[in-house]
């Protein structure tokens, strides 16, 4: 007779050793799992920390409060009274003397030149514009001469006015602390961030245009993709004959969902802007391009929702003499709506965060204020993250970029939260 069982297996020591080995193996596997989770968690935490710590600083701003003397000698030396002349003046130069005096820096001479440069770094283009607007404002352009139309800003030459200006790069400036102690510099909530628009001067950068732009873009996206997506789903689920053509369409809807978004950007730039001549960089084109991305999501979600509607509603309606369309519109579609809306919100949330295709169609760098219609050039919020950062690294720009990301993430969480809530509610009932 052949010995099948290895005699070792009957040995108690051997059995104990094997058990131990198996247990150790299990423990090792667990340890690896925990380590992998820890790494993933750490990376997420680092990302969130970087966004939040920078972003929160971008939501605060340092302001310099100074009394500015609008010196007529400097602004309009020949006493011409001409607003066009006054407009040429570099108004930031009115601020520096006050700060030099406060900091005991000589206003002239070689010795303090470096110190003066540091002080000047605190004041940006935006501050200069803010002071200029107090004296002279442009309200339009003369249609014939193309000269700017100028009006007085309300402040007269010779007045002394206390103004608050945004200070730049305060974290790395050696005078920040001293100015703060002297009462010239204080930190407060950055209201400009929510009420201002895209600007080259990070001290005056805001996201209102990007927010409104995103709203228009999503509205266009929704209007373009929701009806088309729902109708396509209804047709495919309820009326389409089962044949090769519908199978082919079905496969390609799923393929559409897998196409990298930048491809849609390129296509959109060509079709919508070049072929149809729509205005580039607008919410109209942006929304249409993004609707190509949301369309497959909506179709897939709507089909699943329609399929899950109990057949008994349809049957009951048909039994009463309703046509298939009537049964569809009066019962099937309304019952499927929560699921369809959930899918649509998820699609729109994806569109909200989409950036690459929008860069293609020119939504980057716009500084034309708040878009009043979908036909105005505008950034979107996701593009705003890019706009805020600008082309080279800057402390404040980085912070603002992160602040924009925070707003974007909050909106995304709200959208996805709504979708999750709707799904939860429809599952319960």
């Amino acid at each position: 007779m052949v010995q099948i069982i290895d005699p070792k297996l009957k040995d108690a020591d051997y059995q104990r050793a094997m058990t131990l080995r198996r247990r150790n193996k299990g423990k090792r596997f667990q340890a690896w799992g925990i380590a992998a989770l820890a790494v993933a968690g750490l990376m997420l935490a680092a990302l969130l920390y970087s966004i939040v710590s920078n972003g929160v600083r971008g939501l605060m701003e340092d302001r310099i409060t100074v009394e500015v003397y609008f010196d007529p000698e400097k602004i309009d030396p020949r006493d011409s009274g001409d607003l066009a002349v006054m407009r040429m003046f570099n108004f930031d130069t009115l601020v520096y003397p006050v700060l030099y005096e406060a900091l005991d820096i000589k206003a002239r001479g070689r010795s303090d030149r470096d110190k003066r440069r540091k002080v000047k770094q605190l004041i940006g283009l935006g501050a200069s514009n803010q002071l200029r607007e107090m004296i002279v404002r442009q309200v339009g352009v003369d249609p014939v001469t193309e000269d700017p139309i100028l009006v007085s800003g309300g402040t007269q030459l010779g007045e002394r006015v206390t103004v608050e200006l945004t200070a730049l790069s305060t974290a790395s400036n050696p005078y920040t602390q001293t100015l703060r102690e002297l009462g010239y510099l204080n930190t407060r909530f950055n209201g400009d961030f929510f009420t201002g628009v895209n600007s080259n001067d990070p001290g005056y950068y805001g996201i209102l245009d990007a927010l409104v732009g995103s709203f228009w873009t999503l509205l266009v996206c929704f209007l373009a993709s929701f009806p088309v997506g729902v109708l396509a789903a209804v047709y495919l689920e309820e009326f389409a004959p089962r044949n090769l053509i519908t199978d082919f369409i079905e496969v390609n809807i799923n393929n559409l969902a897998a196409v990298p978004s930048i491809v849609f950007g390129l296509m959109g730039a060509f079709v919508f802007i070049y072929v149809f001549g729509m205005p580039g960089g607008t919410a109209l084109v942006g929304g249409l391009v993004l609707s190509l991305l949301t369309l497959p999501t909506i179709i897939v979600a709507a089909r699943a929702a329609i399929r899950s509607v109990p057949g008994s509603y349809r049957e009951a309606a048909l039994g009463l003499g309703a046509s298939r369309q009537q049964a569809m519109w009066s019962f099937v579609l309304p019952s499927a709506m929560p699921g369809i809306i959930t899918g649509t919100i998820i699609g729109l949330a994806g569109a909200l965060g989409e950036t690459a295709p929008l860069l293609f169609i020119g939504m980057v760098g716009f500084q034309s204020g708040i878009p009043l219609t979908p036909l105005d050039g505008t950034p979107s919020l996701a593009v705003g993250v890019f706009n805020a950062f600008g082309s080279q690294f800057d402390e404040l720009k980085n912070q603002l970029s992160n602040s924009t990301i925070i707003v974007l993430l909050v909106l995304l969480m709200l959208l996805n939260g709504t979708a999750a809530y709707l799904r939860y509610r429809s599952e319960k009932s």
């Binding site: 089962r242 109990p310 008994s312 509603y313 049957e315 009951a316 309606a317 048909l318 039994g319 009463l320 003499g321 309703a322 046509s323 298939r324 009537q326 009066s330 019962f331 309304p334 019952s335």
Partner: protein, 263 residues
Amino acid sequence: MSEDQVRMSCRNVNVAYSGNLAIKNVSMDIMSKKVTAFIGPSGCGKSTFLRALNRMNDTVDGCEVTGEITLDGNDIYAKDMDTVFLRQWVGMVFQKPNPFPKSIYENVAYGPRIHGLFRTKSELDDIVEQSLIGAGLWDEVKDRLRNPGTGLSGGQQQRLCIARAIAVNPEVILMDEPASALDPIATRKIEELIHKLAQNYTIVIVTHSMAQAQRVADKTAFFYAVPLTEQDNSNLIEFGDTKQIFDNPVDDRTRQYVEGAFG
């Protein structure tokens, strides 16, 4: 209208699903204002035949009906027959109560709405009230017509479905095991209701309860599943007065079935 007028007449009806016969060569007359019961073991084609009577099978892919079925002499499978009207004349109540996810009022009003059976709101109110009275549900729901129909009990839901069916003023009502999902008390109410409805409507009911067939039906048809033995050329084994089918069946299989030998 004479006592035993034929409302629906079926001649040599076959129904196949994707080529597989479920109903073979069935001929019968359904008498006006009588209750006709279909009995037989499950899978023998009772529902299939019932659904052929108002062309509900049209919605099933691959289902094919041959032979002739007439309603008051009109071929219901004729090319120019509009299923919208056919299903108004021949209504249906399903096995599982299936009220719409809408108010009680809207459940009943749906049929009159799609068929345009009223001109004013008060006419519609009237139809809804009469239908609910007809279904024996009015007293229970008259104070909560705006509540969802799905909030009613199972038996009430089924009576709501009956009210919904009679609201379009049909001539025939088809019922596919209308009480099989209900408790005995609710079942009793449905049976009493069927009795009452038979004064005004022609009723065809599928049931797997022998007792129920005996209680409600004037005529009973016994079906048996395809495949059949060589000598059978139809799966309608026996059709006659309920009393005769139960007390004095001609076919052995009928007797075995009504005696409960197989189910």
